[in-house]
């Protein structure tokens, strides 16, 4: 088992990084007055861990016995019927799903499937806990229509169905939904908190940590706890005992992007652009999301640039990312950004060195 899963806190009491939030959630559950919840925060900050621990607090250990189901739903959409495939993770008391997987058909998932699930009231012999929980991931990727349909569902079935929504940025969730939920902001753990967790894992695994080593990993992790633990484990595999000068390798694709960045800096010509395009395709084919590529590329380029160029490059990165969101094919826009950068950089070089 990966350390990330092995040392994932199982109960609200064991949570290390967001103790005050965990305590507040616990209070909510014990008071039996649980509203709809909306968790938001950057990736790797612990949203999912908190949600799982919360479910366990609500339903006891049964919440962990989940089964994966892949079901095709027949949805009646006016004149025709649609087949929508959806993967769900469910236990006796909760169902977890990812409605944005259906792409532009997400509206039907919300209107039909979620409504159907919300309607069915779970039966419990003791007359206790007669409510179920729906966990929806990535609500920020839902379309506007789907979000509007959701708000009616939230009100209508609120007596026996609680929604737990989970997303990265709450700006993309409509005000109407936000105002119906208790919003819980999960911030990324600070580097000190990451160090603490890493040291704890090291102790449990019986590893010798040289001083400053955990801090080094934490610094590289970009405040994502998941990433920190993963790279900690990678280091363990690569070389043990640790030395404080050990190289903490970054991900393959990140090195690849760094390579692209240095290619671009070295030569600005149509020929080089062609080569870069090949590399970008390579990344896209390996399912690295285009906006992440663009962001990483910007990060790498900013490291090497003069201050006066940074503003300009940032502006164009934001500009092309926006266009990418509106458009269909990501490669056009990433390439356009590369071309723009080349032209700016070239004229900068000419202006400076003649």
């Amino acid at each position: 088992m990966l350390w990330v899963d092995k040392y994932r806190p199982k109960t609200l009491d064991n949570i290390t990084a967001h103790q005050h939030i965990a305590q507040n959630l616990k209070k909510l559950v014990t008071e039996q007055d649980c509203p709809h919840l909306l968790f938001y925060g950057p990736p790797g900050s612990g949203k999912k861990t908190l949600i799982m621990a919360l479910l366990r607090q609500m339903f006891g250990p049964t919440a962990e016995k989940v089964k994966v189901e892949n079901k095709t739903w027949k949805v009646d959409a006016g004149s025709r019927t649609l087949d929508i495939e959806l993967t769900t993770l469910s236990s006796t008391n909760h169902v977890e799903l990812n409605p944005s997987d259906a792409g532009f058909q997400d509206r039907y998932i919300v209107q039909e499937i979620i409504k159907e699930m919300a309607k069915n009231r779970p039966i419990d012999t003791k007359g206790k806990k007669g409510f179920k929980v729906l966990v929806l991931n990535e609500v920020d990727k839902l379309s506007r229509e789907a979000q509007h349909s959701l708000r009616r569902t939230m009100e209508k079935y609120s007596a026996y169905c609680r929604l737990i929504l989970c997303c990265n940025s709450s700006s993309k969730v409509t005000e109407a939904i936000r105002s119906r939920c208790l919003n819980v902001r999960i911030n990324a753990p600070t580097e000190e908190e990451i160090v603490k967790v890493l040291e704890l894992i090291g102790k449990k695994e019986g590893l010798q940590l040289p001083s400053g080593f955990a801090a080094l990993i934490a610094e590289k992790s970009n405040r994502s706890l998941r990433r920190a633990i993963l790279s900690f484990e990678t280091c363990r595999v690569q070389q043990y005992p640790f030395t404080s000068k050990q190289v903490i390798s970054s991900m393959d694709w990140e090195e690849y992007v760094a390579e692209i960045a240095s290619d671009i800096m070295k030569e600005q010509s149509p020929k080089r652009l062609f080569q870069v395009r090949g590399k970008l395709y390579e990344l896209l084919v390996n399912c690295i999301p285009p906006e992440i590529i663009l962001k990483r590329l910007l990060y790498e380029l900013l490291k090497k640039l003069d201050a006066e160029l940074k503003h300009e490059v940032c502006h164009w990165a934001a500009y092309y990312e926006h266009r990418m969101r509106l458009g269909q094919k990501a490669i056009f826009h990433i390439e356009a950004f590369v071309a723009k950068f080349m032209s700016i950089y070239k004229s900068f070089l000419i202006a400076t060195f003649g």
């Binding site: 039996q32 419990d124 993309k172 208790l182 911030n187 502006h315 990312e321």
Partner: protein, 342 residues
């Protein structure tokens, strides 16, 4: 938890005024409507104003007071944005409801029960223009037996022919004073402890929207128990703390791009919603004394663009970084145009 506890009812519903005279701060409307209650004479109405000022509450209250609980179901049709209100609904559902005649007015159980029905169209500004046009003739034809109440935030989105058929009432944002008394009343009922600082924070973050204030109050009470500080309120409301906005602006003023970048990274890692950040930034920039008008204009222009991009779904980090870059250029009097663009 099968029978849900009473406390899970939203306070917004629990403390909704049941009678027209209890509606706070909207004297004009209340005066006209109390008059209506006596004479049972009522024109078509159009209520408009910002959210959380009591428009829906007033409409529901007058309907309840006119008809009482027994007749309410048969005499009042309530439609809001979550119901389908396309042109078909106007042509079928609304028209057929409007067409039914009702018995002459005899008082029942102490309620006036005037001889007409009421159709309440909540959030009417989200109706399509076609649907609104379809209503025009319906309103006139059945005006003997049906009164329409339109409720909307933006009167400009109601087509002129509809607006001219109604008596218009503007609902004002609630003053801080009235808000405070309302909130204190709820605190007393619920047994909450709220100090003066928290109270003023609550009024300022809710900006005259009583519903929002009550929702925040309830969330905070659920999370933090009976004594609530202003920090708790800020944390449930999703407002970015003032220090963060200020640190961002200071970083921009310094003219050091890497410092600004670090600040942007910090905002994203802390998980603050960038759209909220932008609107708070706007507030700070507009009110700042040490920024010239031209600089303000440049910053505001960029903020507008970034907001639009965010609505389109653009990446938060990149947009905020772009805003930071532009703000910095404006504050440090660097030229607006980029030097190497061709």
């Amino acid at each position: 938890m099968a029978p849900l506890l009473q406390s899970s009812q939203p306070w917004v519903e629990k403390y909704r005024p049941k009678q027209v005279k209890d509606v706070a701060h909207q004297d004009e409307v209340v005066r006209v409507l109390t008059n209506t209650l006596e004479t049972t004479n009522c024109p078509h109405m159009l209520f408009y104003g910002p959210p959380g000022t009591g428009k829906t509450t007033t409409a529901l209250a007058i309907a309840h007071q006119l008809f009482g609980p027994e007749l309410y179901k048969s005499r009042v049709l309530e439609l809001n944005a979550s119901d389908d209100r396309g042109i078909n609904v106007v042509r079928t559902k609304i028209k057929s409801f409007a067409a039914v005649a009702v018995g002459s007015g005899q008082r029942q159980g102490g309620y006036p029960c005037p001889p007409y029905k009421i159709i309440i169209l909540d959030e009417a500004d989200s109706m399509t223009e076609d649907a609104q046009n379809a209503l025009r003739r319906t309103m006139e034809t059945y005006s003997k037996v049906t009164r329409f109440f339109f409720i909307c935030n933006y009167i400009s989105r109601i087509i002129e022919p509809l607006a001219s058929r109604c008596a218009k009432f503007r609902f004002k944002p609630l003053s801080e004073e009235i808000m405070t008394t309302r909130i204190l009343h709820i605190c007393n009922e619920e047994g909450l402890n709220l100090d003066a600082e928290a109270l003023s924070t609550l009024s300022s973050i809710s900006q005259g929207d009583l519903r929002r204030a009550i929702t925040y109050l309830q969330s905070a009470a659920r999370l933090f128990g009976s004594s609530i500080s202003s920090k708790d309120l800020i944390s449930v409301s999703g407002v970015v703390p003032q220090e963060v906005v200020e640190a961002f602006l200071i970083a921009c003023k310094s003219g050091d791009f890497d410092l600004a970048n670090k600040e942007v990274n910090n905002v994203i890692a802390e998980g603050y919603p960038v759209s909220q950040m932008l609107s708070q930034l706007l507030e700070v920039v507009v009110e700042a004394d040490d920024i010239s008008d031209e600089q303000k204009a440049r910053i505001c222009k960029k903020l507008g663009e970034a907001d639009k991009c965010l609505v389109d779904g653009a990446d938060e980090y990149l947009q905020l970084l772009d805003v930071a870059g532009n703000t910095m250029r404006a504050l440090c009097n660097m030229p607006q145009e980029f030097s190497y663009e061709c």
